[in-house]
C-alpha cells in the first residue's frame, strides 16, 4: 500500500495514510482532487471496482466545522487490495459531484445518501426519487441530530407494559432464586 500511496502522493495532496490491514488503507484528500484521483486509480492502478460509497456524520466536531465524510472504497481485484478515499464536506447544504459516469452503481449509493443524509448529487440519475423511505416528512434519518427514539415514540403507537431487564441478573434470579 505504501508504494501506491507514494505514487499517489506525487500527484495529489493526500492526507496521511491510515492502514487498517495489510491490504486495506484510507487516505483523505480535498474535494476538487477526488475525481482525478478516482480516474487515476481506476485507469492506471487497476482499482476497477467501486466497493461502496458511504457517509459518516461527524456531528461532535463542534457546531461551526462539523462535517460529512464521504468514503469511496475501491478494490483492485487482481492484487486483492482495497483503498478508501475520503473527502470532507460541509454539513449544511451539502452538494457533491456525481461519479455515476465512472461507476454506474454509484447512482444507487448517491440516491441513498441523498435520502438518508440529505447530501445532494445534482447530476446523478434518479437521485430525487424515493429510495427506501416513502413519504418521509422529517430531517434525513441517518443524520446524527435526528432523534430516532423521540421520532419512534411520537409516531408509532406502543403497547403498555414493556420493560427492559438486564439479562444476566434476570437469569440469575430465575435460575437461582435468593442466591444473588
Amino acid at each position: 500500500m505504501h508504494a501506491l500511496y507514494d505514487r499517489l502522493k506525487a500527484l495529489f495532496p493526500l492526507g496521511e495514510l491510515t492502514e487498517q490491514r495489510a491490504n486495506l488503507a484510507f487516505a483523505t484528500l480535498p474535494v476538487e482532487y477526488l475525481r482525478p484521483a478516482l480516474l487515476h486509480l481506476r485507469d492506471q492502478e487497476g482499482y476497477t471496482h467501486l466497493v461502496l460509497l458511504t457517509a459518516v456524520d461527524w456531528l461532535e466536531d463542534g457546531q461551526e466545522n462539523c462535517q460529512f465524510q464521504l468514503t469511496y472504497l475501491l478494490n483492485n481485484r487482481a492484487e486483492n487490495l482495497d483503498i478508501g478515499l475520503r473527502v470532507m464536506l460541509p454539513r449544511e447544504g451539502t452538494t457533491m459531484a456525481s461519479i455515476h459516469d465512472l461507476w454506474p452503481t454509484a447512482a444507487t449509493y448517491q440516491r441513498e445518501l441523498r435520502e438518508m443524509f440529505g447530501i445532494d448529487f445534482p447530476d446523478s440519475p434518479g437521485v430525487y426519487e424515493e429510495f427506501i423511505l416513502e413519504g418521509w416528512n422529517d430531517i434525513p434519518p441517518y443524520r446524527r441530530d435526528f432523534d430516532t427514539l423521540k421520532y419512534a415514540n411520537d409516531s408509532y403507537a406502543q403497547r403498555a407494559g414493556r420493560e427492559t431487564r438486564d439479562p444476566e441478573t434476570h437469569m440469575k434470579e430465575q435460575l437461582y432464586p435468593g442466591k444473588s
Binding site: W136, A157, Q158
Partner: protein, 213 residues
C-alpha cells in the same frame, strides 16, 4: 400521487381513446361489511369447522420471520400435513402471517394484501416485533404494535419463534376458529374508520383507495 394513478386519457391497441381513472376504475370503493353468522348455531359450527380445516397462508414474508416459514412449507416440518398451505396471491389465501417487523413501507403493502383477501380471513402476528416492536422498538421506520393497524387473531411470541411454535400457533388458531372467536375480519369492518385513521397516521404518502378489493 404517482403519475400512473392520475386520471388520464389512454389510447388502446385498436386506436380508440378512453379515459382511465385508476383510483376509481380499478378498485371497489365500498367499505367492508360485517359478515353475520349462519342462521342456526349448528350450521355456523359446521362452517367454522370447515374454515379451521382449510388455512391457506399468503406467502408474503414481511421481515426476518419469513425465514421460519421456509422449513415449515418444505419436508422438514411439513405444515401441509396439518391442512395448511401457502398460496401466491391474496385472492387465494385466508391467513396472513405478518412474519416479523413491519416497516411503514411494508405495512402499506400488507394492508393492501389483507384487504384483497376474501372473508373470512385471519391474521397471525409472528415474533416480538409485531407485539411490542421487539428489537426495533426505537426504529424510525417500524411500527411497534400490529393490532393498531390490522385485526390480529393470534400472536406467536419469540424472536424468532421456531417452526414448531408456528405449528402450535396454527393449531391454536384452528381452535379459535372452531370456537367462533377468530372474528378479525368483522372487527376490521366494524372499526374500519379507527383502523384507517391509525394507518394514515403512519403512512404519509397514502396513494391508494381506502379499501382495496
Amino acid at each position: 400521487m404517482k403519475p400512473e394513478l392520475l386520471k388520464r386519457m389512454v389510447k388502446g391497441p385498436d386506436g380508440v381513446e378512453f379515459e382511465v381513472e385508476p383510483m376509481r376504475d380499478y378498485y371497489c370503493d365500498a367499505p367492508p361489511t360485517v359478515q353475520h353468522g349462519a342462521y342456526i348455531k349448528i350450521v355456523e359450527d359446521f362452517f367454522n369447522w370447515a374454515r379451521a380445516e382449510s388455512l391457506w397462508i399468503l406467502g408474503f414474508g414481511t421481515g426476518c420471520g419469513a425465514i421460519e416459514m421456509r422449513p415449515l412449507m418444505t419436508p422438514r416440518f411439513d405444515a401441509y400435513r396439518y391442512g395448511i398451505q401457502w398460496r401466491p396471491t391474496p385472492r387465494q389465501a385466508n391467513l396472513l402471517v405478518i412474519s416479523g417487523y413491519l416497516s411503514t413501507k411494508t405495512l402499506k403493502r400488507a394492508i393492501r394484501a389483507y384487504e384483497q383477501m376474501q372473508s373470512p380471513k385471519y391474521v397471525v402476528g409472528l415474533g416480538s416485533c409485531t407485539i411490542n416492536g421487539g428489537m426495533y422498538w426505537d426504529s424510525y421506520n417500524t411500527i411497534k404494535c400490529l393490532d393498531q393497524y390490522m385485526p390480529v387473531d393470534l400472536y406467536i411470541t419469540g424472536c424468532m419463534p421456531r417452526p414448531e411454535a408456528l405449528l402450535a400457533g396454527f393449531e391454536d388458531l384452528k381452535k379459535l376458529i372452531r370456537a367462533g372467536k377468530a372474528e378479525g375480519a368483522n372487527q376490521y369492518a366494524e372499526r374500519f374508520d379507527w383502523y384507517k385513521a391509525n394507518q394514515k397516521q403512519v403512512i404519509h404518502d397514502w396513494d391508494m383507495p381506502d379499501y382495496n378489493w
